[in-house]
Protein backbone atom coordinates (compact mmCIF):
# COMPACT_ATOMS: atom_id res chain seq x y z
CA UNK A 1 0.00 0.00 0.00
CA UNK A 2 1.64 3.20 -1.11
CA UNK A 3 1.19 6.47 0.61
CA UNK A 4 -0.45 8.02 -2.43
CA UNK A 5 -3.08 5.39 -2.96
CA UNK A 6 -6.59 6.75 -2.80
CA UNK A 7 -8.79 5.18 -0.11
CA UNK A 8 -11.82 3.23 -1.39
CA UNK A 9 -13.96 4.95 1.18
CA UNK A 10 -13.02 8.02 3.09
CA UNK A 11 -15.37 9.51 5.66
CA UNK A 12 -14.74 12.79 7.40
CA UNK A 13 -16.53 14.45 10.30
CA UNK A 14 -19.66 12.32 10.03
CA UNK A 15 -22.29 13.40 12.54
CA UNK A 16 -25.66 11.85 13.12
CA UNK A 17 -28.03 13.21 15.71
CA UNK A 18 -31.57 12.18 16.56
CA UNK A 19 -33.40 15.26 17.79
CA UNK A 20 -33.16 18.97 17.18
CA UNK A 21 -30.48 19.82 19.70
CA UNK A 22 -30.37 22.80 22.07
CA UNK A 23 -27.79 25.34 23.34
CA UNK A 24 -26.78 23.12 26.23
CA UNK A 25 -25.90 20.29 23.80
CA UNK A 26 -22.86 22.32 22.75
CA UNK A 27 -21.37 22.10 26.21
CA UNK A 28 -22.11 18.40 26.13
CA UNK A 29 -19.91 17.90 23.09
CA UNK A 30 -17.03 19.66 24.78
CA UNK A 31 -17.66 17.84 28.03
CA UNK A 32 -14.77 15.68 29.12
CA UNK A 33 -17.25 12.96 30.12
CA UNK A 34 -18.33 12.73 26.46
CA UNK A 35 -21.81 11.38 26.85
CA UNK A 36 -23.93 11.14 23.72
CA UNK A 37 -27.27 12.06 25.24
CA UNK A 38 -28.41 15.58 26.12
CA UNK A 39 -30.41 15.54 29.36
CA UNK A 40 -32.03 18.91 28.56
CA UNK A 41 -33.58 18.34 25.11
CA UNK A 42 -33.24 14.57 24.79
CA UNK A 43 -31.19 14.70 21.62
CA UNK A 44 -29.07 11.61 20.97
CA UNK A 45 -25.73 12.07 19.27
CA UNK A 46 -25.42 8.62 17.73
CA UNK A 47 -22.30 9.39 15.71
CA UNK A 48 -19.96 12.21 16.56
CA UNK A 49 -17.13 13.40 14.34
CA UNK A 50 -16.43 10.04 12.77
CA UNK A 51 -13.42 10.21 10.46
CA UNK A 52 -11.78 7.18 8.91
CA UNK A 53 -10.46 5.74 5.67
CA UNK A 54 -10.57 2.25 4.16
CA UNK A 55 -8.15 1.17 1.47
CA UNK A 56 -8.54 -1.34 -1.35
CA UNK A 57 -8.64 -4.97 -0.27
CA UNK A 58 -8.68 -4.08 3.38
CA UNK A 59 -11.03 -5.28 6.09
CA UNK A 60 -11.89 -2.65 8.64
CA UNK A 61 -13.46 -3.83 11.89
CA UNK A 62 -15.69 -1.65 14.03
CA UNK A 63 -16.20 -2.74 17.63
CA UNK A 64 -18.02 -1.17 20.48
CA UNK A 65 -20.67 -1.83 23.05
CA UNK A 66 -24.34 -1.95 22.30
CA UNK A 67 -25.64 1.55 21.58
CA UNK A 68 -22.24 2.98 20.68
CA UNK A 69 -23.38 4.01 17.19
CA UNK A 70 -21.87 1.19 15.11
CA UNK A 71 -25.04 0.29 13.27
CA UNK A 72 -26.07 3.92 12.83
CA UNK A 73 -22.72 4.53 11.16
CA UNK A 74 -23.37 1.62 8.78
CA UNK A 75 -26.87 2.85 8.04
CA UNK A 76 -25.49 6.28 7.23
CA UNK A 77 -22.88 4.76 4.92
CA UNK A 78 -25.56 2.74 3.09
CA UNK A 79 -27.88 5.80 2.94
CA UNK A 80 -30.55 4.09 5.01
CA UNK A 81 -30.34 7.15 7.23
CA UNK A 82 -29.49 10.68 6.27
CA UNK A 83 -26.42 12.10 7.99
CA UNK A 84 -26.70 15.32 10.00
CA UNK A 85 -23.39 16.55 8.65
CA UNK A 86 -20.20 15.13 7.23
CA UNK A 87 -18.68 14.05 3.96
CA UNK A 88 -17.81 10.76 2.32
CA UNK A 89 -15.90 9.98 -0.85
CA UNK A 90 -15.90 6.69 -2.72
CA UNK A 91 -13.00 6.16 -5.11
CA UNK A 92 -15.07 4.27 -7.70
CA UNK A 93 -17.76 6.95 -7.84
CA UNK A 94 -16.84 9.99 -9.96
CA UNK A 95 -13.13 9.40 -9.16
CA UNK A 96 -13.74 9.96 -5.47
CA UNK A 97 -14.07 13.69 -5.92
CA UNK A 98 -17.77 14.04 -5.08
CA UNK A 99 -19.24 14.01 -1.62
CA UNK A 100 -21.73 11.13 -1.81
CA UNK A 101 -23.80 12.36 1.13
CA UNK A 102 -24.60 15.52 -0.84
CA UNK A 103 -25.84 13.60 -3.90
CA UNK A 104 -29.51 13.28 -4.86
CA UNK A 105 -31.47 10.28 -3.65
CA UNK A 106 -31.44 8.94 -7.23
CA UNK A 107 -27.64 9.04 -7.28
CA UNK A 108 -27.47 7.48 -3.83
CA UNK A 109 -29.61 4.63 -5.12
CA UNK A 110 -27.21 4.27 -8.04
CA UNK A 111 -24.27 4.02 -5.64
CA UNK A 112 -26.08 1.44 -3.52
CA UNK A 113 -27.00 -0.63 -6.55
CA UNK A 114 -23.67 -0.47 -8.35
CA UNK A 115 -20.89 0.13 -5.83
CA UNK A 116 -22.07 -1.18 -2.48
CA UNK A 117 -23.35 -4.34 -0.93
CA UNK A 118 -24.72 -4.59 2.57
CA UNK A 119 -25.51 -7.49 4.84
CA UNK A 120 -27.87 -6.61 7.65
CA UNK A 121 -27.92 -8.17 11.07
CA UNK A 122 -31.57 -9.02 10.49
CA UNK A 123 -32.00 -10.94 7.20
CA UNK A 124 -35.58 -9.64 6.90
CA UNK A 125 -34.18 -6.18 6.18
CA UNK A 126 -31.86 -7.28 3.41
CA UNK A 127 -34.10 -9.82 1.70
CA UNK A 128 -37.56 -9.99 0.18
CA UNK A 129 -38.51 -13.08 2.07
CA UNK A 130 -41.57 -13.94 -0.02
CA UNK A 131 -39.65 -13.92 -3.29
CA UNK A 132 -37.48 -16.86 -4.37
CA UNK A 133 -33.84 -16.97 -3.26
CA UNK A 134 -32.62 -16.67 -6.81
CA UNK A 135 -35.08 -13.82 -7.35
CA UNK A 136 -33.54 -12.03 -4.39
CA UNK A 137 -30.17 -12.18 -6.06
CA UNK A 138 -31.69 -11.15 -9.38
CA UNK A 139 -33.19 -8.10 -7.69
CA UNK A 140 -29.77 -6.61 -7.13
CA UNK A 141 -28.63 -7.60 -10.61
CA UNK A 142 -31.74 -6.04 -12.20
CA UNK A 143 -31.20 -2.89 -10.16
CA UNK A 144 -27.68 -2.73 -11.57
CA UNK A 145 -29.13 -2.75 -15.09
CA UNK A 146 -29.05 -6.46 -15.95
CA UNK A 147 -31.92 -7.59 -18.23
CA UNK A 148 -30.87 -11.08 -19.29
CA UNK A 149 -32.70 -13.88 -17.48
CA UNK A 150 -30.27 -16.63 -18.48
CA UNK A 151 -27.22 -14.74 -17.28
CA UNK A 152 -28.88 -13.70 -14.02
CA UNK A 153 -30.01 -17.25 -13.34
CA UNK A 154 -26.52 -18.59 -13.95
CA UNK A 155 -24.98 -15.94 -11.69
CA UNK A 156 -27.57 -16.60 -8.99
CA UNK A 157 -26.92 -20.35 -9.07
CA UNK A 158 -23.18 -19.80 -8.94
CA UNK A 159 -23.45 -17.54 -5.91
CA UNK A 160 -25.93 -19.68 -4.02
CA UNK A 161 -23.71 -22.68 -4.61
CA UNK A 162 -20.83 -20.64 -3.26
CA UNK A 163 -22.70 -20.00 -0.02
CA UNK A 164 -23.75 -23.64 0.27
CA UNK A 165 -27.45 -23.34 -0.50
CA UNK A 166 -28.50 -26.70 -1.99
CA UNK A 167 -29.31 -26.36 -5.68
CA UNK A 168 -32.80 -27.85 -5.29
CA UNK A 169 -33.78 -25.12 -2.83
CA UNK A 170 -32.82 -22.05 -4.83
CA UNK A 171 -36.37 -21.47 -5.99
CA UNK A 172 -37.67 -21.57 -2.46
CA UNK A 173 -38.48 -18.36 -0.59
CA UNK A 174 -36.03 -17.41 2.19
CA UNK A 175 -38.93 -17.35 4.64
CA UNK A 176 -38.71 -21.14 4.68
CA UNK A 177 -35.01 -21.06 5.47
CA UNK A 178 -33.22 -21.19 8.78
CA UNK A 179 -31.57 -18.01 10.09
CA UNK A 180 -28.13 -19.13 8.98
CA UNK A 181 -29.33 -19.93 5.48
CA UNK A 182 -31.10 -16.60 5.24
CA UNK A 183 -27.88 -14.88 6.27
CA UNK A 184 -25.98 -16.78 3.59
CA UNK A 185 -28.55 -15.83 0.93
CA UNK A 186 -28.13 -12.25 2.05
CA UNK A 187 -24.37 -12.47 1.64
CA UNK A 188 -24.82 -13.94 -1.84
CA UNK A 189 -27.18 -11.08 -2.68
CA UNK A 190 -24.77 -8.45 -1.42
CA UNK A 191 -21.98 -9.95 -3.50
CA UNK A 192 -24.04 -10.49 -6.65
CA UNK A 193 -22.68 -7.64 -8.75
CA UNK A 194 -19.14 -7.70 -7.37
CA UNK A 195 -19.37 -4.48 -5.39
CA UNK A 196 -16.03 -2.86 -4.59
CA UNK A 197 -17.30 -2.04 -1.10
CA UNK A 198 -19.07 -4.45 1.23
CA UNK A 199 -20.69 -3.40 4.50
CA UNK A 200 -21.32 -6.14 7.06
CA UNK A 201 -23.43 -5.33 10.08
CA UNK A 202 -23.22 -7.98 12.80
CA UNK A 203 -23.44 -10.80 10.27
CA UNK A 204 -22.79 -13.60 12.69
CA UNK A 205 -24.77 -12.44 15.69
CA UNK A 206 -27.45 -14.92 16.58
CA UNK A 207 -26.00 -17.76 14.54
CA UNK A 208 -24.72 -20.94 16.15
CA UNK A 209 -20.99 -21.48 16.29
CA UNK A 210 -20.61 -23.89 13.38
CA UNK A 211 -22.69 -21.69 11.08
CA UNK A 212 -20.80 -18.66 12.35
CA UNK A 213 -17.53 -20.30 11.42
CA UNK A 214 -18.73 -21.21 7.94
CA UNK A 215 -20.13 -17.72 7.31
CA UNK A 216 -16.90 -16.10 8.44
CA UNK A 217 -14.89 -18.52 6.38
CA UNK A 218 -17.01 -17.68 3.38
CA UNK A 219 -16.54 -13.94 3.83
CA UNK A 220 -12.80 -14.35 4.19
CA UNK A 221 -12.54 -16.56 1.11
CA UNK A 222 -14.64 -14.32 -1.07
CA UNK A 223 -12.84 -11.23 0.14
CA UNK A 224 -9.45 -12.75 -0.71
CA UNK A 225 -10.67 -13.99 -4.08
CA UNK A 226 -12.27 -10.78 -5.25
CA UNK A 227 -10.10 -8.35 -3.29
CA UNK A 228 -13.11 -6.37 -2.15
CA UNK A 229 -13.01 -3.81 0.61
CA UNK A 230 -15.02 -4.67 3.69
CA UNK A 231 -16.24 -2.72 6.68
CA UNK A 232 -17.40 -5.16 9.34
CA UNK A 233 -19.28 -4.19 12.47
CA UNK A 234 -19.32 -6.56 15.40
CA UNK A 235 -19.33 -6.64 19.15
CA UNK A 236 -17.64 -10.03 19.01
CA UNK A 237 -13.89 -9.58 19.31
CA UNK A 238 -13.33 -13.11 18.03
CA UNK A 239 -14.85 -12.14 14.68
CA UNK A 240 -12.76 -9.00 14.55
CA UNK A 241 -9.58 -10.87 15.43
CA UNK A 242 -10.21 -13.41 12.70
CA UNK A 243 -11.21 -11.01 9.90
CA UNK A 244 -10.13 -7.45 10.41
CA UNK A 245 -6.81 -5.95 9.33
CA UNK A 246 -7.52 -2.73 11.09
CA UNK A 247 -9.97 -1.96 13.88
CA UNK A 248 -11.65 1.07 15.33
CA UNK A 249 -13.28 1.09 18.72
CA UNK A 250 -16.43 3.14 19.25
CA UNK A 251 -17.91 4.37 22.48
CA UNK A 252 -20.86 6.74 22.89
CA UNK A 253 -20.82 7.68 19.21
CA UNK A 254 -17.12 8.50 19.08
CA UNK A 255 -14.08 6.68 17.81
CA UNK A 256 -11.91 6.30 20.87
CA UNK A 257 -9.12 4.23 19.42
CA UNK A 258 -8.06 2.89 16.04
CA UNK A 259 -5.15 0.96 14.70
CA UNK A 260 -4.03 -2.48 13.56
CA UNK A 261 -6.21 -5.20 15.01
CA UNK A 262 -3.32 -6.95 16.77
CA UNK A 263 -2.20 -3.70 18.26
CA UNK A 264 -5.69 -2.89 19.55
CA UNK A 265 -6.20 -6.32 21.03
CA UNK A 266 -2.73 -6.83 22.47
CA UNK A 267 -1.94 -3.32 23.60
CA UNK A 268 -5.15 -1.39 24.21
CA UNK A 269 -4.62 2.23 25.25
CA UNK A 270 -8.08 3.48 26.13
CA UNK A 271 -9.72 2.42 29.35
CA UNK A 272 -12.82 1.08 27.62
CA UNK A 273 -10.80 -0.97 25.16
CA UNK A 274 -8.73 -2.41 27.97
CA UNK A 275 -11.93 -3.35 29.76
CA UNK A 276 -13.34 -4.88 26.58
CA UNK A 277 -10.23 -6.93 25.82
CA UNK A 278 -9.93 -8.00 29.43
CA UNK A 279 -13.47 -9.27 29.63
CA UNK A 280 -12.93 -11.49 26.61
CA UNK A 281 -9.50 -12.91 27.05
Amino acid sequence: MTEFEQPVLSVSNLNKQFGKGCPSCKDLNEDSLKKNYCPVCGTVYACHDITFEVYAGEILGVVGESGSGKSTLMQCLYFDQEVSSGEAYISSYKDGKTDVFAESSQQKRYIRNHIMGKVYQNPLLGLRINFTSIGNIAEKLIAAGNRHVGKMEARGKELLEHVNIPIYRIKEAPKNFSGGMQQRVQIAKALSNNPPLLLLDEVTTGLDLSVQASVLDLIKTIQRELQITVVIVSHDLGVIRMLADRTMVMLDGRIIEQGLTDQILEDPQHGYTQHLVQSLL
Binding site: S105, T132, E139, H148, V149
Partner: protein, 289 residues
Protein backbone atom coordinates in the same frame (compact mmCIF):
# COMPACT_ATOMS: atom_id res chain seq x y z
CA UNK B 1 -90.52 11.06 -4.96
CA UNK B 2 -88.57 12.07 -8.03
CA UNK B 3 -85.04 13.32 -7.61
CA UNK B 4 -83.61 15.63 -10.25
CA UNK B 5 -79.91 15.11 -10.77
CA UNK B 6 -77.51 17.57 -12.29
CA UNK B 7 -76.37 16.76 -15.84
CA UNK B 8 -74.13 13.70 -15.63
CA UNK B 9 -74.96 12.99 -11.99
CA UNK B 10 -72.14 15.11 -10.51
CA UNK B 11 -72.37 18.75 -9.57
CA UNK B 12 -70.23 21.02 -11.73
CA UNK B 13 -67.55 21.45 -9.08
CA UNK B 14 -66.98 17.71 -8.80
CA UNK B 15 -66.70 17.37 -12.57
CA UNK B 16 -64.19 20.18 -12.68
CA UNK B 17 -62.07 18.56 -10.00
CA UNK B 18 -61.95 15.24 -11.83
CA UNK B 19 -61.21 16.98 -15.16
CA UNK B 20 -58.36 18.87 -13.56
CA UNK B 21 -56.81 15.59 -12.36
CA UNK B 22 -57.41 14.12 -15.83
CA UNK B 23 -55.61 17.03 -17.50
CA UNK B 24 -52.64 16.52 -15.23
CA UNK B 25 -52.66 12.81 -16.01
CA UNK B 26 -52.65 13.55 -19.75
CA UNK B 27 -49.81 16.01 -19.29
CA UNK B 28 -47.65 13.40 -17.48
CA UNK B 29 -48.23 10.12 -19.35
CA UNK B 30 -48.39 7.11 -17.05
CA UNK B 31 -48.13 9.12 -13.84
CA UNK B 32 -50.78 8.29 -11.23
CA UNK B 33 -52.58 11.47 -10.25
CA UNK B 34 -54.49 11.36 -6.98
CA UNK B 35 -58.06 12.66 -7.13
CA UNK B 36 -60.99 12.99 -4.75
CA UNK B 37 -62.83 9.82 -5.66
CA UNK B 38 -66.56 10.26 -4.97
CA UNK B 39 -69.03 7.89 -3.41
CA UNK B 40 -70.97 6.43 -6.34
CA UNK B 41 -74.31 4.67 -6.53
CA UNK B 42 -72.43 1.52 -7.58
CA UNK B 43 -70.08 -0.38 -5.32
CA UNK B 44 -66.35 0.28 -5.14
CA UNK B 45 -64.65 -2.24 -7.36
CA UNK B 46 -67.46 -2.18 -9.91
CA UNK B 47 -65.90 0.49 -12.04
CA UNK B 48 -66.33 3.64 -10.00
CA UNK B 49 -63.04 5.08 -11.25
CA UNK B 50 -63.98 4.63 -14.88
CA UNK B 51 -67.51 5.82 -14.24
CA UNK B 52 -66.34 9.04 -12.62
CA UNK B 53 -64.03 9.75 -15.55
CA UNK B 54 -66.84 9.09 -18.03
CA UNK B 55 -69.31 11.28 -16.15
CA UNK B 56 -66.83 14.14 -15.90
CA UNK B 57 -66.12 13.99 -19.64
CA UNK B 58 -69.52 13.32 -21.14
CA UNK B 59 -71.19 16.04 -23.22
CA UNK B 60 -74.65 16.27 -24.78
CA UNK B 61 -73.47 15.09 -28.20
CA UNK B 62 -71.44 12.13 -26.98
CA UNK B 63 -72.26 8.55 -27.87
CA UNK B 64 -71.40 5.98 -25.24
CA UNK B 65 -70.35 2.38 -25.35
CA UNK B 66 -69.72 0.33 -22.20
CA UNK B 67 -67.96 -3.02 -22.28
CA UNK B 68 -67.58 -5.44 -19.39
CA UNK B 69 -65.44 -8.53 -19.98
CA UNK B 70 -65.82 -7.96 -23.72
CA UNK B 71 -69.61 -7.90 -23.59
CA UNK B 72 -72.00 -4.96 -23.95
CA UNK B 73 -74.86 -6.76 -22.23
CA UNK B 74 -73.42 -7.92 -18.95
CA UNK B 75 -74.95 -6.66 -15.70
CA UNK B 76 -72.26 -4.15 -14.91
CA UNK B 77 -72.18 -2.66 -18.40
CA UNK B 78 -75.98 -2.36 -18.53
CA UNK B 79 -76.20 -0.65 -15.17
CA UNK B 80 -73.44 1.82 -15.91
CA UNK B 81 -75.14 2.66 -19.21
CA UNK B 82 -78.48 3.11 -17.40
CA UNK B 83 -76.99 5.52 -14.89
CA UNK B 84 -75.30 7.62 -17.53
CA UNK B 85 -78.25 7.77 -19.93
CA UNK B 86 -80.73 8.56 -17.15
CA UNK B 87 -78.70 11.49 -15.91
CA UNK B 88 -77.58 12.81 -19.31
CA UNK B 89 -79.96 11.49 -21.96
CA UNK B 90 -77.15 10.72 -24.40
CA UNK B 91 -77.23 7.94 -26.97
CA UNK B 92 -75.65 4.56 -26.36
CA UNK B 93 -74.28 2.22 -28.97
CA UNK B 94 -72.71 -1.22 -29.29
CA UNK B 95 -70.45 -0.29 -32.17
CA UNK B 96 -66.94 0.71 -31.23
CA UNK B 97 -66.44 2.83 -34.35
CA UNK B 98 -69.54 4.90 -33.65
CA UNK B 99 -68.89 5.69 -29.98
CA UNK B 100 -67.06 8.79 -28.80
CA UNK B 101 -66.53 7.53 -25.26
CA UNK B 102 -65.90 3.85 -24.59
CA UNK B 103 -65.79 2.70 -21.00
CA UNK B 104 -64.33 -0.73 -20.62
CA UNK B 105 -63.14 -3.34 -18.23
CA UNK B 106 -60.87 -6.17 -19.31
CA UNK B 107 -60.80 -5.41 -23.05
CA UNK B 108 -59.88 -2.88 -25.70
CA UNK B 109 -62.25 -3.30 -28.68
CA UNK B 110 -61.00 -5.37 -31.63
CA UNK B 111 -61.75 -2.58 -34.09
CA UNK B 112 -58.85 -0.10 -33.99
CA UNK B 113 -59.81 3.09 -32.21
CA UNK B 114 -59.70 6.38 -34.08
CA UNK B 115 -58.52 9.83 -33.10
CA UNK B 116 -61.24 11.77 -31.32
CA UNK B 117 -62.41 8.72 -29.40
CA UNK B 118 -61.75 8.32 -25.69
CA UNK B 119 -61.23 4.94 -24.08
CA UNK B 120 -61.87 4.88 -20.33
CA UNK B 121 -60.53 1.84 -18.49
CA UNK B 122 -61.60 0.75 -15.02
CA UNK B 123 -58.61 -0.12 -12.86
CA UNK B 124 -58.66 -2.17 -9.66
CA UNK B 125 -54.96 -1.77 -8.71
CA UNK B 126 -53.18 1.16 -10.34
CA UNK B 127 -49.83 0.50 -8.66
CA UNK B 128 -47.61 -1.84 -10.73
CA UNK B 129 -45.15 -2.23 -7.83
CA UNK B 130 -47.73 -3.03 -5.15
CA UNK B 131 -46.88 -6.72 -4.73
CA UNK B 132 -43.20 -5.85 -4.56
CA UNK B 133 -43.49 -2.96 -2.13
CA UNK B 134 -46.61 -2.71 0.05
CA UNK B 135 -45.95 0.84 1.27
CA UNK B 136 -47.48 3.65 -0.79
CA UNK B 137 -44.84 6.08 0.46
CA UNK B 138 -42.09 3.79 -0.77
CA UNK B 139 -43.65 3.12 -4.19
CA UNK B 140 -44.02 6.88 -4.70
CA UNK B 141 -40.28 7.23 -4.07
CA UNK B 142 -39.56 4.36 -6.45
CA UNK B 143 -41.60 6.06 -9.18
CA UNK B 144 -39.92 9.39 -8.53
CA UNK B 145 -36.47 7.83 -8.79
CA UNK B 146 -37.50 5.71 -11.79
CA UNK B 147 -36.46 2.60 -9.89
CA UNK B 148 -38.44 -0.18 -11.53
CA UNK B 149 -36.39 -3.27 -10.71
CA UNK B 150 -39.40 -4.49 -8.71
CA UNK B 151 -41.56 -4.70 -11.82
CA UNK B 152 -38.90 -6.69 -13.64
CA UNK B 153 -38.29 -8.82 -10.57
CA UNK B 154 -41.93 -9.91 -10.53
CA UNK B 155 -41.60 -11.03 -14.16
CA UNK B 156 -38.31 -12.78 -13.31
CA UNK B 157 -40.07 -14.66 -10.51
CA UNK B 158 -42.74 -15.84 -12.93
CA UNK B 159 -40.08 -17.09 -15.33
CA UNK B 160 -38.33 -18.91 -12.48
CA UNK B 161 -41.54 -20.51 -11.25
CA UNK B 162 -43.40 -21.22 -14.49
CA UNK B 163 -40.77 -20.98 -17.21
CA UNK B 164 -42.47 -18.04 -18.88
CA UNK B 165 -43.99 -14.68 -18.09
CA UNK B 166 -47.38 -15.70 -16.82
CA UNK B 167 -49.21 -12.40 -16.50
CA UNK B 168 -52.76 -13.27 -17.53
CA UNK B 169 -53.65 -9.61 -17.48
CA UNK B 170 -52.16 -6.36 -16.31
CA UNK B 171 -48.70 -6.89 -17.80
CA UNK B 172 -46.70 -3.82 -16.71
CA UNK B 173 -45.76 -1.37 -19.43
CA UNK B 174 -43.34 1.54 -19.66
CA UNK B 175 -45.08 4.72 -20.79
CA UNK B 176 -43.13 7.35 -22.71
CA UNK B 177 -39.84 5.90 -21.38
CA UNK B 178 -40.56 7.25 -17.92
CA UNK B 179 -43.33 5.71 -15.81
CA UNK B 180 -44.17 2.05 -15.49
CA UNK B 181 -47.94 1.62 -15.56
CA UNK B 182 -50.37 -1.14 -14.66
CA UNK B 183 -52.57 -1.20 -17.76
CA UNK B 184 -55.68 -2.28 -15.84
CA UNK B 185 -56.84 -5.87 -16.21
CA UNK B 186 -56.59 -5.91 -20.00
CA UNK B 187 -55.06 -9.16 -21.27
CA UNK B 188 -51.53 -9.14 -22.67
CA UNK B 189 -53.24 -9.44 -26.07
CA UNK B 190 -54.35 -5.80 -25.81
CA UNK B 191 -51.06 -4.32 -24.54
CA UNK B 192 -49.73 -3.60 -28.07
CA UNK B 193 -52.93 -1.66 -28.81
CA UNK B 194 -51.88 0.92 -26.20
CA UNK B 195 -48.72 1.75 -28.12
CA UNK B 196 -49.18 4.80 -30.38
CA UNK B 197 -52.93 4.56 -29.95
CA UNK B 198 -54.85 7.15 -31.95
CA UNK B 199 -57.44 7.46 -29.20
CA UNK B 200 -56.92 9.02 -25.80
CA UNK B 201 -56.78 6.32 -23.12
CA UNK B 202 -57.75 7.24 -19.56
CA UNK B 203 -57.46 4.88 -16.60
CA UNK B 204 -59.36 5.45 -13.40
CA UNK B 205 -59.15 3.63 -10.08
CA UNK B 206 -62.04 4.67 -7.82
CA UNK B 207 -61.12 2.74 -4.72
CA UNK B 208 -57.43 3.67 -4.92
CA UNK B 209 -58.34 7.27 -5.87
CA UNK B 210 -55.95 7.55 -8.81
CA UNK B 211 -56.25 8.49 -12.48
CA UNK B 212 -53.61 8.11 -15.15
CA UNK B 213 -53.55 8.40 -18.89
CA UNK B 214 -51.94 7.41 -22.16
CA UNK B 215 -52.30 10.37 -24.52
CA UNK B 216 -52.65 9.67 -28.26
CA UNK B 217 -49.50 8.57 -30.08
CA UNK B 218 -47.55 7.80 -26.92
CA UNK B 219 -44.93 5.06 -26.78
CA UNK B 220 -46.09 2.22 -24.52
CA UNK B 221 -43.63 -0.62 -24.21
CA UNK B 222 -44.49 -3.83 -22.38
CA UNK B 223 -41.72 -4.89 -20.03
CA UNK B 224 -39.61 -7.82 -21.19
CA UNK B 225 -36.15 -9.31 -20.85
CA UNK B 226 -33.41 -9.58 -23.46
CA UNK B 227 -33.89 -13.34 -23.75
CA UNK B 228 -37.60 -13.44 -22.86
CA UNK B 229 -39.44 -11.12 -25.22
CA UNK B 230 -42.99 -9.97 -24.64
CA UNK B 231 -45.55 -12.19 -26.34
CA UNK B 232 -49.30 -11.89 -26.59
CA UNK B 233 -51.63 -14.83 -25.99
CA UNK B 234 -51.56 -17.14 -28.98
CA UNK B 235 -54.75 -18.45 -30.57
CA UNK B 236 -53.00 -20.34 -33.33
CA UNK B 237 -55.29 -22.50 -35.46
CA UNK B 238 -58.28 -21.39 -33.41
CA UNK B 239 -61.22 -19.35 -34.62
CA UNK B 240 -64.54 -18.05 -33.44
CA UNK B 241 -67.23 -20.74 -33.61
CA UNK B 242 -69.89 -18.13 -34.45
CA UNK B 243 -68.38 -15.67 -36.90
CA UNK B 244 -65.18 -17.51 -37.84
CA UNK B 245 -62.86 -14.65 -36.91
CA UNK B 246 -59.16 -15.38 -36.53
CA UNK B 247 -56.45 -13.38 -34.83
CA UNK B 248 -58.79 -11.95 -32.20
CA UNK B 249 -59.01 -12.58 -28.46
CA UNK B 250 -61.06 -15.73 -28.01
CA UNK B 251 -62.94 -17.19 -25.06
CA UNK B 252 -62.75 -20.92 -24.51
CA UNK B 253 -66.21 -22.47 -24.11
CA UNK B 254 -67.46 -25.97 -23.37
CA UNK B 255 -70.36 -27.40 -25.27
CA UNK B 256 -72.73 -28.81 -22.63
CA UNK B 257 -74.19 -31.49 -24.86
CA UNK B 258 -71.20 -32.83 -26.75
CA UNK B 259 -68.53 -31.93 -24.19
CA UNK B 260 -66.42 -30.39 -26.93
CA UNK B 261 -64.31 -27.27 -26.54
CA UNK B 262 -65.00 -24.41 -28.88
CA UNK B 263 -63.97 -20.80 -29.11
CA UNK B 264 -65.87 -17.59 -29.41
CA UNK B 265 -64.99 -13.91 -29.90
CA UNK B 266 -64.52 -12.22 -26.56
CA UNK B 267 -65.60 -8.91 -28.10
CA UNK B 268 -69.30 -9.69 -28.66
CA UNK B 269 -70.14 -6.52 -30.57
CA UNK B 270 -67.33 -7.22 -33.03
CA UNK B 271 -68.70 -10.74 -33.53
CA UNK B 272 -72.21 -9.43 -34.07
CA UNK B 273 -71.04 -6.79 -36.50
CA UNK B 274 -69.26 -9.40 -38.59
CA UNK B 275 -72.38 -11.57 -38.71
CA UNK B 276 -74.57 -8.61 -39.69
CA UNK B 277 -72.25 -7.54 -42.46
CA UNK B 278 -72.09 -11.04 -43.79
CA UNK B 279 -75.82 -11.57 -43.80
CA UNK B 280 -76.23 -8.20 -45.55
CA UNK B 281 -74.18 -9.82 -48.31
CA UNK B 282 -71.41 -7.31 -48.30
CA UNK B 283 -68.96 -10.16 -48.21
CA UNK B 284 -66.01 -8.25 -46.91
CA UNK B 285 -65.15 -11.04 -44.52
CA UNK B 286 -64.13 -13.92 -46.71
CA UNK B 287 -62.16 -15.75 -44.09
CA UNK B 288 -65.14 -17.60 -42.66
CA UNK B 289 -64.18 -21.18 -42.08
Amino acid sequence: MRIEYNFAFFDEGSKREIRRATLKAVAIPGYQVPFASREMPIARGWGTGGLQLTLSLVGKKDILKVIDQGSDESVNAVNIKKLITKTTGIKVTDEASEATIIQSRHRIPEIPLQSGQILVLQVPLPEPLRYYEPSELETKKLHAEQEYSGAWLMLFEQIMNYGTMSTGADHPAMVHDRYVMAPSPIPRFDNPKLNHSKALILLGAGREKKVYAVPPYTRVESLAFEDFSFEVESFKNKYCGICGAKGVFLDEMLDDLTGETFYQCNDTSYCLQRLNQESAGRGIYNDRV
